[in-house]
């Protein structure tokens, strides 16, 4: 149990998917102008990464390994994630219109979010069990959501700040992301 908790803390904060592995920089920059959009994107990412990490783990160990075609993992995971996003969008349209309204526009963006593929591949390369893969499927997108939401709040304040002309927009946003990465490095010693 403690091992799973350590894994959760490690993947959420210490080895944060955005600020230490540099996955999902695209939605971090593109969707962080408004905190509400950032939060909705984060919720959609939690939903998809959790399901995709379970599905990809099962496909790898119950189809690719027995058939000895593990070299197909990358292309299989890409196709599985793309199909999963389509199924999820369809399911939400039909049975959960309120959730679809909240996150519908962000679902297609997740197909191009490399954090989803990154979690699926990391689960395999780290030889996680199914339970560990499920913990990773919650911890990683939670870390992403926290970072993108905090980043959006800071960017909202920065839009009112007296920033030099040459630093406005992307430069100050990237510097902010760098400072946030430095801040997270402060807790790097807590969990290996």
């Amino acid at each position: 149990m403690m091992k799973l908790f350590a894994l959760f803390i490690s993947l959420t904060f210490v080895h944060n998917v955005v600020l230490s592995k540099f996955y999902a920089i695209c939605p971090l920059m593109g969707l962080s102008k408004k905190p509400k959009n950032a939060l909705n994107m984060g919720l959609a990412v939690i939903f998809v990464i959790f399901i995709s990490s379970i599905v990809t783990w099962l496909i790898y160990y119950y189809i690719l390994v027995p058939l000895k075609i593990t070299y197909m993992d990358l292309i299989t995971f890409i196709m599985v994630i793309a199909s999963l996003v389509q199924f999820l969008e369809m399911f939400l349209k039909k049975y959960a219109p309120d959730i679809y309204k909240a996150m519908g526009v962000y679902l297609p963006l997740i197909t191009t979010n490399c954090a989803v593929l990154g979690v699926a591949l990391d689960n395999i390369s780290a030889s996680y069990t199914l339970i560990e893969a499920m913990v990773a499927g919650i911890a990683v997108p939670l870390g992403f959501t926290i970072v993108i939401y905090v980043f959006a709040l800071i960017r909202e304040r920065l839009s009112y700040a007296d920033v030099p002309q040459s630093f406005k927009g992307a430069p100050i946003a990237l510097i902010t992301a760098g400072v946030m990465a430095c801040a997270l490095m402060g807790i790097a010693g807590i969990v290996k």
Partner: protein, 53 residues
């Protein structure tokens, strides 16, 4: 090798099927039109409004 080809074909069929099914599923009645969305700066998003429109 044959298993790899079969798996790829199966995944491709599943993706095309899910894409077509999703496309045919109607949106909820009071849902906003995402084709006019400018919620993010991702140019790959299929909901993003074209610059020419």
């Amino acid at each position: 090798m044959i298993y790899a080809i079969i798996l790829f074909v199966v995944l491709l069929i599943i993706y095309i099927g899910s894409f077509l099914l999703n496309k045919r599923t109607p949106r909820p009645k009071d849902c906003p039109d995402f084709k006019a969305c400018h919620g993010c700066a991702n140019m790959l998003c299929t909901h993003r409004k074209k610059e020419s429109q």
